[in-house]
Subunit: 137 residues, 3 copies
């Protein structure tokens, strides 16, 4: 059984940002030598997410507007009594999810034709990490 671990660090320019990390994850999988198994891609923060969907610019705008609608920014969160102002980012994390697990077949990620892995930053402009853990044979 083989395992392999890498950490990516992101420091976004924008407060919210969506970054396609498929190629970077693919490289970790290739370097691991794992032929059959799974790769876990997981945000190490409670105000960021990881998801799989389409790499289409209009859709990224749709996703951002949708997250703003269902988990809006605003002053009304109890969490803000701590001095924080990012209550919405916690809820966006819960909505989109913080991790995905992708199958590995014949030495590469076994994704559908349009599936791309995204890092979704909801409270950026500071260094934040994603862990990539490969496990298989």
């Amino acid at each position: 059984m083989k395992t392999s671990t890498e950490y990516f660090t992101f420091r976004t320019r924008e407060h919210r940002e969506y970054i396609n990390i498929t190629d970077r994850v693919a490289r970790v999988v290739a370097e691991s030598g794992v032929q059959e198994g799974m790769v876990l891609v997981s945000a190490m923060h409670i105000t960021a997410g990881v998801y799989v969907n389409d790499a289409e610019g209009g859709l990224l705008i749709d996703i951002d507007e949708w997250l703003q609608k269902l988990a809006p920014e605003g002053p009304e969160y109890c969490h803000h009594r701590t001095g924080e102002s990012n209550g919405d980012a916690h809820l966006k994390n819960l909505l989109i999810g913080h991790e995905v697990i992708v199958p590995i077949t014949a030495g590469a990620m076994d994704l559908g034709p349009w599936q791309q892995i995204y890092y979704a930053e909801f409270d950026g402009q500071r260094p934040k990490r994603v862990i990539v853990k490969v496990m298989g044979k």
Copy 2:
């Protein structure tokens, strides 16, 4: 360490449809010979989901109405500038999730008494795939 991989193909009659795939996944697990491990069940599309919940007809209606409410169909998505009309299906995928990972104990899926695995089609009437990857010993 053992792994085993199968692909299911669905071509739904309806645009949106919810299909119980528990028995089919159970068969893949049984045939894999894995006694202890995990099985990943993952839609290979960005407009379909996989989830675990109850096999109850009324609830399936509730789930569909709820998804329509939180991620409605409509003309307003930026994604539609590409000529697509399925922006809502992308958001439904993100809401419900595209994969589940189920524990395997003593050679079978270790699900609770009411837990059933569903394939959720949000943009059907054409062939779409789910990957089932078993990993364990």
Copy 3:
């Protein structure tokens, strides 16, 4: 390859309740002897969830209010024709997710500084279970 399995049982006082289970999961990981791998933490019910986020009291209130807003209690669910009254709990389960998978590095969960694992009960006051399955080397 090593695997290890434990079950936690919860019987909450409240109908909805959020319980930090990070230390209990950490103990299972430590006792498993797994140095590199993953741990799956999964609710065995369709009216409860497992998620990763912050251990902050105000945020727990925010999460509960948000779930009530997006998946409200009420009489209107088709599922209630069966005699059940917990339609909202099924939708809350789908929104928050029923499982997380956490990487294990150097014999311990590889979580970010604020990441805590929560059991989210949406229809409690009766015994309900969570499975913890460790897999690795």
